[in-house]
Symmetry: C2
Subunit: 270 residues, 2 copies
């Protein structure tokens, strides 16, 4: 399953992988790059159907035998590369000698709703890749049913977002490309309560009813959610600030909200 | 209170400010750099006693009149600079035309304990500046009494940490320079329960008793806490993972733990 070692950093194949740093190339090919042993491991374990090719150096193959074994079991194509080829494929040092080209396979909101979700996260106007990825990781940690990344948000398949998800991008459905207004309309039509997380909210988190099916809507890092989006939500909820801090950052606020939801829903079912 | 405009990016004064990016210069001078309007605003509002000098461009003075007014009221020295001088003072683009040189004034653990604290955070072996700063911000948000940054952790006065605190470094006491073993000993002697936050903990967060005075101990991003530190704690507590994520990142885990503490302590007192 290991092909001949790739040694030409200027080959067409290498340039095609390196191009995935650009959104245009990702959209044209419908693929994205997962970098580093953790991301590649989660890809081959959880979504081998999405993995087109794994590229790795001999050193990485020796160091990460678990990833190689999982990739072989999943019948994923492995390509050994010279360190120069691997370096040319990625602009970052996050690869640690191993990357995977994966198919970007967003879920549809209809599919997500058909499964009867209890907990969802909507990223509306979230622009920072680290925040977006960290929220996907947090959503995974609490066992949320899906993340919806609206069309005005960062591209969830960008290398920085994928890296910040720490593999969680392969663990739960991600819906992309819909305007936030349409998302909220469909959620409410499906009987899912829509809660905006916003520092200006009238309801504090401990007072929010989190037992039923609901979705958290997270706004922009700097300016939050537009008034019309807040108005389209069932409640605007703020995480209480007890000290002198002005606010929490977006990923922290999302994590606190999601854990409050998990605590309410798990105590109910348990 | 505004002196003659500084225009020479190679002057001794400018080089002395720029040198604060290095730990050695910070330690020799006992000062550090706060960058950007938010950090400078919080410094002049909450700890004007620590602010040695504020440097800003004419454009920043016009844009951030609230900061200028607060600085004048606090009788802080303001220095107008050319954009070239401001750029030479900082390696980052985070300044937005305004920085402050501040005195690094760590609190002592004895002072913190004398005030009868209810909630503390100990950073043991935390190396990532963004994580350390975000935890300080989270500690501030929940109204924690102090943060202890042990000697094996990142330098809390480094520009990256200060930036990630979003001004919170000026809001609550920060103890530095003590080995973690000594910190835990003194906390326990003062009757403060010591809880290690660790993914391998035997106690899950909802089962931890968070009503009394306690301190959260956060370990290294990659390898957590050494066994001997965990053994010196009253409990090792893990944030429950409901989905497929391996873990939360350190700042997220700390935030979830701190909000659980705040919820327990505020419901008790309310």
């Amino acid at each position: 399953m290991v092909t001949a070692t790739l040694v030409n950093p200027r080959s067409e194949r290498v340039r095609a992988v390196a191009a995935l740093v650009r959104r245009s190339a990702r959209e044209r090919t419908g693929t994205f790059l997962a970098e580093g042993p953790q991301a590649v491991r989660e890809a081959v374990r959880h979504r081998p159907d999405l993995v087109r090719d794994v590229y790795l150096t001999a050193a990485a193959a020796t160091r990460h035998t678990d990833v190689v074994t999982a990739a072989r079991q999943a019948r994923v194509r492995l390509h050994e590369c010279s360190p120069e080829v691997l370096a040319a494929m990625s602009a970052t040092e996050a690869t640690q000698g191993i990357v995977a080209v994966c198919r970007a396979a967003p879920a549809t909101l209809a599919e997500v709703l058909a499964a009867g979700p209890k907990l969802l996260v909507v990223l509306a106007h979230v622009r920072d890749p680290g925040n977006a990825g960290t929220v996907v990781r947090g959503a995974d940690a609490v066992g949320a049913d899906a993340v919806v990344v609206t069309s005005a948000s960062v591209d969830v398949w960008s290398p920085k977002v994928v890296r910040a998800t720490a593999g969680s991008i392969f663990h739960l459905p991600v819906v992309t490309g819909m305007p936030v207004e349409q998302v909220l309309r469909e959620l409410r039509a499906a009987g899912i309560a829509v809660l905006a997380a916003d520092g200006a909210g009238a309801t504090t988190l401990p007072d929010a009813d989190l037992h039923g099916p609901h979705a958290w809507v997270m706004g922009n890092e700097a300016w939050g959610l537009p008034a019309e989006v807040r108005a389209a939500c069932d409640a605007v909820v703020r995480v209480p600030i007890h000290g002198k801090a002005e606010s929490l950052n977006l990923a922290m606020a999302a994590t606190v909200c999601l854990y409050a939801s998990a605590a309410a829903q798990h105590s109910q079912s348990g």
